[in-house]
């Protein structure tokens, strides 16, 4: 993978709004943003109600993903361009999720909604009608998804990258500072994890930093490129953003996203937890 394969600019997007075989998809946790105005022609996916199983804590299964994409009018050979608010957190999550189910041509809009809005580009409230397709997904590609036992085994051996804010990493806060702090699990981080907040990979306008800046960032933070890497955050969305930077932009070969993240790990009985800044 490389930047040209994985990321498109807002200029490219604007020039390809009506291109055949290109589908824009907005993914947010707050779908009212889409309803108020979105990139012309874009369809929406609600990460919570459409990508998550509504009973078990897991993703929709292969058949569920096929049904979802068929109903959205997305075909196997379409180029899917994902974007969203929150600096593309949920769009990056959806990108990883589309890769998990084997969609071949998926891209992220650099800067997402934020750059699009700050640039004053066109938004439209009309919901497009797309003909249903007969989408076929692949089995999940577990080479990019980490589960809890693998994470516990990775302590002290693989790169664990905690991409939450420093106050969440140290255990002072249990959620990002713009969300209510109602979670009941323990605070802290997985021992041996590096704390490289996802935001360090992004510019103020939500675009990704350059490859050179990203390499320098992760190198300076102590990421060992000769080892495998697992990224995590609180619920797996910010770590998708870092997974994208490491795996899709920098081409690191073995990077997994731990989607269970701190809400799972911080509630497990008997696993090691560390508090503080991890540097003492």
């Amino acid at each position: 993978m490389s930047r040209q394969d994985a990321l498109v600019t807002a200029d490219w997007a604007e020039e390809n709004l009506d291109a055949p075989g290109v589908v824009f998809v907005e993914v947010d946790e707050d779908t009212t943003a889409y309803d108020g105005g979105h990139i012309p022609g874009a369809v929406k996916i609600d990460w919570k109600t459409e990508l998550q199983d509504q009973v078990r804590r897991d993703f929709v299964d292969k058949a569920g993903f096929e049904k979802l994409l068929s109903s959205k009018g997305i075909a196997n050979d379409d180029t899917v361009v994902l974007y969203g608010g929150n600096n593309n957190w949920f769009a990056a999550y959806a990108y990883w999720y589309f890769k998990l189910y084997g969609h071949s041509d998926v891209k992220l809009l650099d800067g997402g909604r934020k750059k699009w809005e700050l640039d004053g580009r066109k938004l439209d409230s009309a919901v497009p009608e797309r003909k249903a397709t007969d989408y076929t997904a692949k089995e999940q590609d577990l080479s990019i998804r980490a589960f809890r036992d693998e994470v516990v085994d990775a302590i002290g051996s693989k790169n664990l990258v905690d991409v939450r804010s420093p106050d969440e990493f140290s255990g002072k806060l249990l959620a990002p500072a713009h969300l209510p702090q109602e979670q009941a699990q323990r605070g802290g981080h997985i021992p041996s994890a590096l704390n490289v907040p996802w935001s360090k990979a992004a510019n103020e306008d939500g675009t990704f930093r350059s490859d050179e800046e990203l390499r320098e960032l992760y190198g300076a933070e102590g990421l060992d490129s000769s080892r495998s890497t697992i990224a995590y955050c609180r619920i797996g969305e910010r770590s998708s953003h870092t997974w994208f930077a490491l795996h899709e932009l920098l081409g690191e070969p073995d990077v997994k996203n731990y989607d269970g993240s701190w809400t799972e790990y911080g509630s497990l009985v008997g696993v090691p937890v560390e508090t503080g800044d991890g540097k003492s």
Binding site: L118, L173, A175, A177, L179, S199
Partner: protein, 99 residues
């Protein structure tokens, strides 16, 4: 500057101002509220901590630990920022002018 909690603030149910410090305020341009601004909470080293979009009335809200913070707003009509010092639990109201 925290004093007694502002009973009029629109906070989520369950917010306990005797335990949590909450940063609120409006993004303004020449005194008028700016909705749809991207409001970023930066820590004392200037590092990003969180981001919200201001409401139609220009309002933003963050939950933060005690310390020195900068609230920075990006908008189509310009950018701006303001500093906030959080000493303990309570409500901290700060206007962020842009332009």
């Amino acid at each position: 500057m925290c004093g007694s909690p502002d009973q009029n603030a629109d906070l989520p149910a369950g917010t306990d101002l005797t335990k949590e410090s909450v940063l609120v305020g409006k993004v303004t341009n020449s005194g008028s509220p700016v909705g749809g601004a991207f409001v970023r909470l930066l820590d004392s080293t200037g590092e990003f901590t969180a981001e919200v979009v201001s409401s139609a009335t220009g309002d933003y809200r963050f939950f933060a630990a005690p310390g020195s913070w900068t609230v920075r707003a990006l908008s189509r009509s310009g950018n701006g920022q303001a500093d906030v010092s959080v000493g303990g639990p309570g409500l901290y109201t700060t206007e962020v002018p842009v332009g």
